[in-house]
Amino acid sequence: MQGLIDLVEKYFSISVIKEVLPYLLKGALFTVVFSAASEIIGIVIGLATSVVRVTRIKVLNQLAIVYVDLFRGTPLLMQIIFVYYALPYIGINLPATVAGIAALSINSGAYVTEIFRAGIESIDRGQMEAARSLGMSYIKAMRYIIIPQTIKRVLPPLTNEFVALIKDSSLLSVIAISELLRTAKEMMTWKLNPSSLTAAAILYLVITLPLTRYVSYMEEKLKRSGV
């Protein structure tokens, strides 16, 4: 019984949470901004790389494969450390915020590449043939016929990837960016009470739950429309 009381006092202290909440909300805002910026840049990188992948332009295709393998196959934490701590040795000094967004974007771009590639390849071959038979160039067929259909299909996996990115952005705490997790840890040291971690977990849920719900809704809708 005493253990339970201690647990509540340590991890679910309402008074502590009330006190640290304004700071945590600021941290949450950072988390959202960093994740959203990285996701957007990641989508641009991923879309471009996926088109390179499906067109199979030899040299570029090989480079794209190396990029995807490298960034999907190594821990994001390591990538963040490299961008922030290793690049300065070759003269690339990035502020923590820029290094953080760069690492997250490049990492997310690798995942987005594979999402878009699978999406593009899932479009029936007849769509490309019909577009080409009307005299459209490959680029126009991609832009007006294939990519718009792909976007619909990749929205659910892309949102899932965004949710993962939001959680992964907590790794930015290692390069001293005051995102949600780091703020919570600082509050924990300040208050000598880890309830701020609980509050931060709830805030992560507040951010990610609408997104995961949206994915379920979209998947259901896509299933019904048969696109």
């Binding site: 019909a130 038979s133 009307l134 005299g135 619909k152």
Partner: protein, 240 residues
């Protein structure tokens, strides 16, 4: 209009077209019949450059379109193609499907393209389906939109690749009727089909293909009434 000279097409080691020679004049409706696997569709797809011939030449309006320097996009603009599986763009309405190529390829003004698109959809009997998405259309309606979409580019020749094969039997007629009207209007057509009634009635010329070769060629009615090659006879006996 179209002249095919000694056309060969191999997929790996499989030779699908083994030396095709064929001439289609302006205004002719050339019907291509034959058992499945005989190379009919491949022949049509070669004409539209969707397949690259292994050897041989295809002349379109005097120009060798199999030559390296040919701009395929320009050639395809002048050749309309309708597919067995419709291949409508599912993210666009019927009208959207019809106007996309004139607007993006021919740089036609949007309102002008839409006016023409509505006219074409009217012509194929789909006045009430202009703003409907393909998923809401029956197979026959989809195929008629696909025909309107191809016609929107003002093609000089129309290619039809087994366009009624994926349709429920009761929907075949509405599509064939559109094609008949088109033939009457003087459109040059190459039609791969299993619809023998249509082939006989609408085809001005007919070829019978088997195993990558043209075995018999002539006026459609003559071949139906008086097939000479033993394989043509066997095929017609089996399908009629």
């Amino acid at each position: 209009m179209i002249e095919i000279v000694n056309l060969h097409k191999k997929f790996g080691t499989l030779e699908v077209l083994c030396g095709i020679d064929l001439k289609v004049n302006k205004g002719e409706v050339m019907v291509i019949i034959g058992p499945s696997g005989s190379g009919k569709s491949t022949l049509l797809r070669c004409v539209n450059l969707l397949e690259k011939p292994t050897s041989g030449q295809i002349f379109f309006a005097g120009e060798d379109i199999t030559a390296r320097k040919v701009n395929k996009n320009l050639v395809r603009q002048r050749l309309g193609m309708v597919f067995q599986s419709f291949n409508l763009f599912p993210h666009m309405t019927a009208l959207g499907n019809v106007v996309i190529a004139p607007v993006q390829v021919l740089k036609m003004k949007k309102d002008e393209a839409e006016k023409k698109g509505i006219e074409l959809l009217k012509k194929v009997g789909l006045t009430d389906k202009i703003n409907v998405y393909p998923s809401q259309l029956s197979g026959g309606q989809k195929q008629r939109v696909a025909i309107a979409r191809a016609l929107a580019m003002n093609p000089e020749v129309m290619l039809f690749d087994e366009v009624t094969s994926a349709l429920d039997p009761e929907l075949v007629k509405e599509v064939l009727d559109v094609m008949k009207d088109l033939a009457k209007s003087g459109m040059t057509m190459l039609v791969v089909t299993h619809e023998m009634g249509f082939a006989r009635e609408v085809g001005s010329h007919l070829i019978f293909m088997d195993e990558g070769l043209i075995l018999e060629e002539g006026r459609a009615v003559d071949i139906f009434d008086n097939p000479r090659h033993v394989r043509t006879k066997a095929f017609l006996n089996a399908v009629l």
